[in-house]
Structures are given as C-alpha cells and as structure tokens.
Symmetry: C2
Amino acid sequence: MQKERGILIVLSGPSGVGKGTVRKELFSTPDTNYEYSISMTTRQPRVGEVDGVDYFFQTHENFESLIQQGKLLEYASYVGNYYGTPLDYVNETLDSGRDVFLEIEVQGAAQVREKAPNALFIFLAPPSLSALEERLVGRGTETDDVIASRIQAAKQELEMMNLYDYVVENDEVTKACDRINAIVMAEHCRRERVEKRYYRMLEGK
Amino acid sequence: MQKERGILIVLSGPSGVGKGTVRKELFSTPDTNYEYSISMTTRQPRVGEVDGVDYFFQTHENFESLIQQGKLLEYASYVGNYYGTPLDYVNETLDSGRDVFLEIEVQGAAQVREKAPNALFIFLAPPSLSALEERLVGRGTETDDVIASRIQAAKQELEMMNLYDYVVENDEVTKACDRINAIVMAEHCRRERVEKRYYRMLEGK
C-alpha cells in the first residue's frame, strides 16, 4: 500500500522578517514532525559550521553542474555565491511520507511554486501592516509623508504575498510558530488529501 | 474601519460519530474563541434544560412562521419536531467579528453550504476508515463478507465527505479538538482573508 506523500512546506517572506529565527524555534521543539531541508551553498563554511548540518558545502563547479542536471528545486546567487535546495533529498523525504520544510528567499519560493505547485506556501509578514493599521485608526501622530511611504511599503508587501497560500504575521516568534504548526496540521486534514488516501486504500493500492 | 467578518464554522458528520461530545469539549476550554450557535427546537425541554442555553424552545407555529420568513439558516425535522439555526444571530455575531460554531446534521450542513458557501465545513469522521485500512493491511482475520460490507460503508462515508473542506477523524476527542482548532487558526491566516483586510485598510475602510 502506497504511503501518503508528505507535504512540502515553504516558508518565505521579505528579508529581515525573521524567517531564520522562526525556523530555528520550530525545530527546537522535540515534537516537530517536519524534516528541515538543508541548503547547498558554494560559500566558505564559517567557524563552527558543519557540512551536512548547517549547509551542504559545494564547489562552484559542482553547483553549476547540479544546476545543469536539474538537481536543484530552487537556487539563487547572493554576493557571488550560490544557495539552493537539493531536489533529490526533498523528493525522497516526501515519498517516505514525511513533510519537508524549506526556509528560503522569495525568489526561490517563486521557483518552487512553478516546479511544485502543490506545496504549501507560507508568507512570513512583518507586523508593519498591523502597526500601520493601528496608526491609521489612531490619532495622527505621524506626518503625512511618513504615512504615505508606509502605505507604499505595505502595498509592495501585499504584492509579494500574491503567490502564497497563507500569511503568518511575525508579531511574536512563538505565535508565528503556533500558526505555522496549525496550518500544517490543517493541511493534513484537507478533504482532497484525506479522501485520496482512502480511495487509494479502497482500491487496494 | 470595517471589522473583519468572523468565520462560520460548520461541524457535521454521520450520526453517532460524536459531534456533540467534540463540541462540548471544544467549548469546555476557557480560551475558545468561537460563539456557539444555540439551536432552535419545537421539542419539549427536558428536565434541567434551560431556554437560551441548551436550545431556544419554540412553538410549532412560531417555528413554521420563521421558516416562511427565511429566518433560519438551516432546519430539519426529526421525530415530529423541528430543529434549526437562527439566521439573525449567526449574521450579527459574524458581523461583530466573532467566529460562529455550528454543530449540525449532514442534511443541515448541505443547506448551509448553499446559503453560506464561504463557511468552513468540517466533517467529523469515525475512525472506521483508518481501522479498515489497518485491517486491509494486516493479516486476514475477518471474513470476506465483513470486509466487503465495511468497504461498502466506507464508500458511503466518502461520498458524504464531498461537500466538506476538511475531514477530522474522531479517534480521540482531544485530538479531534486540536485539529479543529488548528483548522480555524489556519483559516484566519489564509492569504485571501488577510489580504482583503489589508487592502480594505489601505483604502481607509
């Protein structure tokens, strides 16, 4: 009987929003059921970083060869170095029935969206929108210019959200983690998913 | 500024699955954020039942007049008595920004689906499907007839699920409650919902 495939969870959001902190907090609790997909990079290991724990460290040549072979689910280049997600690891883990968690930049998330449209896309949002809401509701203690530029920033953020299924505000790290865990738990209860499993069972597969 | 409308949560499932027990457990925790929609009925109050707490008790004439005025979100008749959900209460509570929780029979849920397609439909499933899965996987300790009739029952259950967004297995009441709470929390993070709120804010509404 075929195992139910795991869920590919993609956490992304604007840089500086605290994706890494939220990811670390998620994986610091012992009952986390997701497998963290370790990224591949061509940058040099920093002191204390371990190959296969923090990153899979690769040479430029190897990385470019993996790109050409289509072995990366997503990749990007920052400050002269490549960063990417190994496709085989992700697929093997999902096939074994476990959920895989990616914490990546928005450009990478857009690539995953194209290659794995069934993944669960979670946008980590700064609390700036809610803060803006409070400011707009409250008395005018800000100048019109400040408010106008904040509205502009908020609009750009809203445009970025467009590719995502869920928006989690990072007002507090533990609250953001609770929401992410709830989203994944809910996703496992989606009728299409549960139904498919049962139909497969009834067909004896 | 307009408040975000609450979510209408509909819990239903086959009779005998334990909907009432799960609902009571959900509302026994002090931090439950949903408003329970008390049903209206024409049956006589039982000893200890309080009008406005257990049910809104109504005469047959009143109930039928409410049906004719379209004042019920859903209703059904059992053993000569009517049971239904008052529409005004539901709408007023949702408008005030609070989530409303309905625990109703599958026939009623089908009526809500037509009148409130944006509601969140959760199907509470007996653990029979998973139990069946285990039996099919394990050694054949059941006769073919028993298995065949269970497969038949499972298929009927799967057909009932079709109108629902989520399926929650009632293997353990507290686990079922955790899943329901996770589904509602996730629903509040859905991008369409969050985005709408922010766009409305930016338009100053």
